[in-house]
Amino acid sequence: MIDTGMKVLVVDDMSTMRRIVKNVLRQIGFSDIMEAENGQDALTKLKAGGFGLVVSDWNMPVMQGIELLRAVRADAELKTLPFLMVTGEAQKENLIVAVQAGVSNYVVKPFTAEVLQGKLEKIFANVQPAKTS
């Protein structure tokens, strides 16, 4: 069971993708959803606190999704934050890199709403969401 009351950060440089992911999350039941255009923007918002989940793209300018993931895992306050990578990078090598960096799960575009929901359910079945303030 997903706690849909938590605050979610959707990170993508494409405004269309942020809108799509937000709508899918809303359909699942999430209502407190914020957006960031790149990893740097996301990190600033995450450090401000209060987030229970990050849904991030891989390919972004300024700071890529994988760099954001590494920065999150290196941060004492954020290191247990559930992190879902939603990306068009379907190469096996990238998946391995993301797993080694500590990604919670990985969704390849184009995806369906069921796939996204299924991955979130798996994340929250296995991971205790971080309490950030």
Binding site: M14, M17, R19, N23, K109
Partner: protein, 213 residues
């Protein structure tokens, strides 16, 4: 021709050379002749390359611009479809709510009919969401376009190096095209403009320049 000049050139002192020296000289001459022919072929090839290289290096910025436009247009189109599906979803929610209210107040066969309609309306929620998610193709297009632009930029850099190394001159607009008039120049400006998306006023200007309106 370099080859002809080489063959015609007389080197003094041939009569003084022994037979062995003359043979060696003939052999060197033959090799030089081959080399000169090779140089001629290369020179000719470079000359033939001039036109395609200059025209390609002229066109590459436009190709990049077209790709950027493609990305932008698909993004705008996707937002439009997203807005429409969001409106449809809002309407669907209202219809579902009203049907649920109606079901409470009706009795008999109408209840069954209303429940059948409600089931269809609820099923549309998933369909609308899937239309939404299917639009993520736009992001994939944008990423592929970005990769293509990178490749084109690399090709352009290599062509520019070629132009510099072999001294190929870029054709400047206007040379030999004076008879094509202002319409041609406007088309050239259009090609080199930052965006390749046609604006109606520009279309009308060009059309009127060609006597069409």
């Amino acid at each position: 021709m370099l080859v002809d000049r080489m063959i015609e050139t007389e080197v003094p002192g041939d009569g003084e050379l022994p037979e062995e020296g003359l043979n060696e000289k003939r052999s060197i001459n033959a090799e030089l002749e081959e080399l000169a022919k090779y140089v001629e072929v290369i020179t000719q090839t470079i000359r033939e390359m001039e036109s395609p290289v200059t025209s390609t290096s002229d066109q590459l910025p436009q190709a990049t611009s077209h790709l950027h436009d493609l990305s932008k247009m698909t993004e705008e189109g996707t937002h439009k479809v997203l807005s429409l599906t969001e409106e449809l979803e809002r309407n669907r929610e209202v219809i579902q709510h009203q049907l649920e209210q109606l079901r409470i107040s009706v009795a008999g066969r109408a209840v069954k009919d209303l429940e059948a309609i409600l089931a269809m309306v609820k099923a549309d929620e998933g369909r609308l969401l899937n239309i939404h998610v299917a639009l993520s193709f736009q992001d994939l297009i944008a990423q592929r376009v970005a990769k293509l632009v990178t490749i084109l930029n690399e090709i352009q850099n290599k062509l520019l190096k070629l132009v510099v190394v072999f001294g190929i001159q870029q054709q400047k607009g206007g040379a030999g095209k004076s008879d094509e008039g202002r319409g041609y120049e406007m088309l050239r400006q259009l090609e080199s403009s930052k965006t390749t998306a046609l604006q109606q006023d520009l279309v009308d200007s060009i059309m009127s320049e060609y006597g069409m309106s």
